[in-house]
Structures are given as structure tokens and as C-alpha cells.
């Protein structure tokens, strides 16, 4: 059944269709309507779940951790300062190997105060041991939540996942979304049943103290889980496609990349605009393509490496900035490309911070710039795009 809905409602429907059993969340702009919709579902009995209103995001994640440890499928949603307040417990969730799924509506961090999109909040959580999926459409948000449970609850993975969408551009923008039949989702996603869970009358401590002689082995196991997630994401998406007839591009979605001279690497809603720009530039004879990072954790190293071996220029757009270095997607993509014999020229474009529009015109200029740079080499490896006061004009 197709319905027109916002990214936030798509998120709530995703959690409902996945039959989340415990939902603990704290409202924050622009995530609020996810939690409101889920509270509605629980109140009307459409979703049989325990809804726990908590006093902070730290508590929301703590409640999810406890519920998941008891064997319940849990869901939460947050954004920006809420996500960063969770930081400590995010690492607990992954270390305790709890496959919690959470939506993060990616929003800029303050100061300056902003409620609009950028990816700093999500990128700041990259080392927490969570899988991170950046979505481009509202449909992808819904589908990815369902797939994320299936990926993460597998005994070889057992790690939590963050499903990321852009503030307002997705969270509050309506698109047609196909709501899959509950029976189909049930056949795709069986109930959660972990090998080990905490039980009444059987006291156990989870995540207890280990000495230096044993700590690394646990971290090594978590690394293996994240590594195995690469294949698992691809396999789960193939199965999803066979049932629902849709796919979203695996770890790295490639659009018109096969014969491209230069490509743009980007994540989130800007990829949709970039696809239009690729079409219009190709109509004028430019061989350009787009590679969309769908999974930032695990990072699509192999896919980037394969692409880097085929193109002359690779532009990486980051909607956040890692102070003292460059954009995080750029540094990772460049690290992946390093082992390629004939490496492309790579350049980082910092754009769209705090909700600044990344227009088709700006993307076209990035493509034009990387075309020139791929022949001459880059003077500056990192360029801030569309900053008032800088000489270069982008609009």
C-alpha cells in the first residue's frame, strides 16, 4: 500500500512493521514526530510494545540496553545533541553486543544553534561500534530499519545499527512510501531470539570486568562482527529485494559510474540531487557519476577501491568537518584508494553545514572543479564550498 508520508513517519512505520517490542525515547527536534507516531501506535493497540517515556537520551539508550538484554527487540530515535548525549551508552550497547536499531535524524551541533541538517552528530559516533546507514529517501528509511534488524540480530553480527536521515529535508518532507504487508515483513524478519538473555530467577552479570589478559579478545570479536556485517548487509538486501522488489545499493550505491571519468562520493539526501545533476551533465556529454555511501560503518573499502582504480578524479562531499583533519568521508575514501596502483586525484568538498542548501548549481560546479583538478592536480585538498567571504563563487 502506497502512502504519502514524511521520513519521520516512514521511520515510525518501519519500527512498527519490524514489531519493536520496547520503545524508549526522548523527544528532540526534528525527531519528535517519530516518537509521537509510535506513541499513537502503542496507545491505539496497533503496535504491541512497551513505550517508555524517559527523562533524557542517555536514559533512553540505557532502557533500550536493558530491554534488549532481556531479549526484547528495541527501537529508539534521536537527533543531534540527543545522540551525542548518548555517546557513552552507545559504546556500551555495541560492547554488550545488543542489536538495537535507532533512527538518527542528522542535525547540526551547537553553537551556533541550528536545527537543520548536517552530519556532524552521526560522524561523531563513528567509533562507537554501531553500524551506520545513511538514507537518501523516505522509502529507504523504512526499508533500512527492517533490514537493519535482520542484519544485526544475526548471531555472527550482534551489533547495533543507526539508520540516518537528513533533518527536515527527509524528516519533514513527504514522499510516496510503499508500506509492505505485515505478513511479508514477518516472513522476512522472524522474532528476535538471542542465544543468551537475562532472565528472572537466574541472576547474571552482562559486560562484567575483565583483566588486561582478556579484554582484547572481546574487542577482536566485535571487530569480526562488524567485518562480517559487510557480507550480511548485501545478502539481506538481496533477500529483501526478492520479497519486496526493491533495493537501495548495498554498501555503496553506484549511479552512472561504469564509464565515468570523475565521480562524486556523497551520503544522505544530497545524493538524490546529485543524480539529477549527473543526468543533466551526461546529456551535455560529461562522463560523470555518483557513488553514494549508504553504509558508513562498515565502510565500503572494497567498493571505493574498485571505483578508484577506474576513475581519474574523485570528489568527496562531506556534510560535516573533522577539525584538524578533513571531512571524515574523504579521509576514509582516500585511505581506501591508497592501495590502488593508479590512484585518482581526490579532493574534499565541505558543503551544506547547518542546513545550507547544496543546490544543483553547486554540485555542477563541484563536478566541473574535479574535472579540472583530475587533469592538473589539486592545489587544496580540502575546499569549503559556498562560504561568504571566500573568493570563489559557487552559486
Amino acid at each position: 500500500m502506497r502512502e504519502v508520508m514524511t521520513g519521520n513517519y516512514a521511520s515510525a512505520y518501519g519500527a512498527k512493521l519490524a514489531r519493536a517490542e520496547v520503545i524508549a525515547a526522548y523527544p528532540i527536534t526534528p525527531q519528535t514526530s517519530i516518537v509521537e507516531k509510535l506513541a499513537d501506535f502503542v496507545t491505539t493497540g496497533e503496535l504491541k510494545a512497551q513505550f517508555i517515556p524517559v527523562e533524557s537520551e542517555h536514559s533512553a539508550m540505557a532502557a533500550c540496553i536493558a530491554a534488549e538484554t532481556a531479549g526484547a527487540r528495541t527501537y529508539t530515535a534521536t537527533s543531534s545533541h540527543g545522540l551525542t548525549l548518548m555517546h557513552e551508552v552507545l559504546i556500551w550497547a555495541s560492547g554488550a553486543r545488543l542489536p538495537i536499531v535507532m533512527t538518527n535524524v542528522s542535525r547540526a551541533m551547537a553553537p551556533p544553534w541550528s536545527v537543520w541538517v548536517d552530519h556532524m552528530d552521526s560522524i561523531a559516533q563513528r567509533d562507537t561500534g554501531w553500524l551506520q546507514f545513511f538514507c537518501q529517501s523516505n522509502q529507504e528509511v523504512l526499508d533500512t530499519i527492517i533490514m537493519a534488524y535482520k542484519v544485526c540480530e544475526s548471531s555472527g553480527i550482534m551489533l547495533p545499527a543507526m539508520v540516518i536521515m537528513d533533518a527536515f529535508i527527509q524528516s519533514h518532507t513527504s514522499e510516496p512510501v510503499d508500506l509492505p504487508d505485515q505478513e511479508l515483513v514477518d516472513s522476512f524478519l522472524p522474532p528476535y531470539s538471542p542465544d543468551l538473555k537475562i532472565e528472572v530467577g537466574k541472576p547474571m552479570g552482562f559486560g562484567s570486568l575483565v583483566k588486561p589478559d582478556q579484554y582484547m579478545e572481546f574487542r577482536y570479536k566485535a571487530m569480526l562482527g562488524m567485518k562480517a556485517a559487510r557480507d550480511r548487509v548485501l545478502r539481506v538486501e538481496r533477500e529483501f529485494k526478492s520479497i519486496f522488489g526493491r533495493e537501495h545499493g548495498g554498501l555503496l550505491e553506484r549511479y552512472e559510474c561504469d564509464d565515468a571519468d570523475v565521480v562524486l562520493v556523497a551520503a544522505g539526501s544530497v545524493a538524490a540531487t546529485a543524480k539529477d545533476v549527473v543526468d543533466s551533465m551526461r546529456a551535455k556529454g560529461h562522463r560523470v557519476g555518483l557513488a553514494r555511501i549508504r553504509s558508513f560503518r562498515p565502510f565500503p573499502h572494497d567498493e571505493i577501491r574498485a571505483l578508484a582504480g577506474k576513475v581519474e578524479g574523485m570528489a568527496v562531499l562531506d556534510r560535516s568537518y573533522t577539525f584538524g583533519a578533513a571531512g571524515a568521508m574523504f579521509t576514509e575514501a582516500r585511505a581506501s584508494a591508497y592501495s590502488v596502483q593508479k590512484r585518482p586525484v581526490m579532493k574534499n568538498y565541505i558543503a551544506g553545514l547547518g542546513g545550507r542548501d547544496i543546490t544543483p548549481r553547486i554540485l555542477e560546479r563541484i563536478f566541473e572543479d574535479i574535472q579540472v583538478v583530475s587533469r592538473r592536480g589539486a592545489e587544496d585538498e580540502v575546499e569549503w564550498v559556498d562560504v561568504a567571504g571566500l573568493q570563489r563563487r559557487w552559486r
Binding site: G95, A96, R97, M158, L196, P203, M204, G205, F206, G207, S208, L209, V210, D213, Q214, E217, F218, Y220, K221, A222, L224, G225
Partner: protein, 90 residues
């Protein structure tokens, strides 16, 4: 001895309750209850952050195996029937 990563669970799991840690050994100050002054209000029982006070006929009995000697019960007691004394003094 260090176990191979293949022999260990996903996260360290213990079936030994934390009650094996006798935290009473941490104590410097010990609560002493003067039951003749006790009004059986149960405030000490409600406030004990470690839950080591039991009520017997409404009066507090403090489990000194676990009491860390924080003094919250003594501070809160309206009847002033719990005093804190230095370990070994009384």
C-alpha cells in the same frame, strides 16, 4: 589464563552475583543504632543507597558485611538514633 577469542562469549558474562564483594571492608565510619530512640519511621531503610538496611519489627538492622559507612541513614534519621563511630572505636 587468557582464553582464545573463539572460546569466550560475545560479551563477558558472569553467573556470580556481585554480592560476593563484601563492601563492608571499605568502611571507615560505622553506623550504630540506639533502638531505644527509634520511632520506626523507616526513613533510614528508604534512604540507604546500598539497600543494606533490613527492618525487623520496624526497627533497622544494618548488614555490616555490605554497609560502606556513608552515613546517609544517620544524617536522615529524625530521631537521631543512628550515630557514626570510627571503625574500631566502639
Amino acid at each position: 589464563m587468557t582464553k582464545s577469542y573463539e572460546e569466550i562469549p560475545l560479551t563477558p558474562i558472569s553467573d556470580t552475583p556481585s554480592t560476593i564483594n563484601l563492601t563492608g571492608y571499605w568502611r571507615v565510619m560505622r553506623p550504630v543504632v540506639d533502638k531505644s530512640k527509634c520511632k520506626k519511621c523507616t526513613i533510614c531503610w528508604k534512604f540507604c543507597p546500598d539497600g543494606v538496611i533490613k527492618l525487623v519489627d520496624g526497627e533497622p538492622v544494618i548488614d555490616l558485611q555490605y554497609c560502606k559507612g556513608c552515613g546517609v541513614c544517620s544524617f536522615e534519621c529524625p530521631a537521631k538514633c543512628i550515630i557514626m563511630v570510627k571503625e574500631g572505636d566502639l
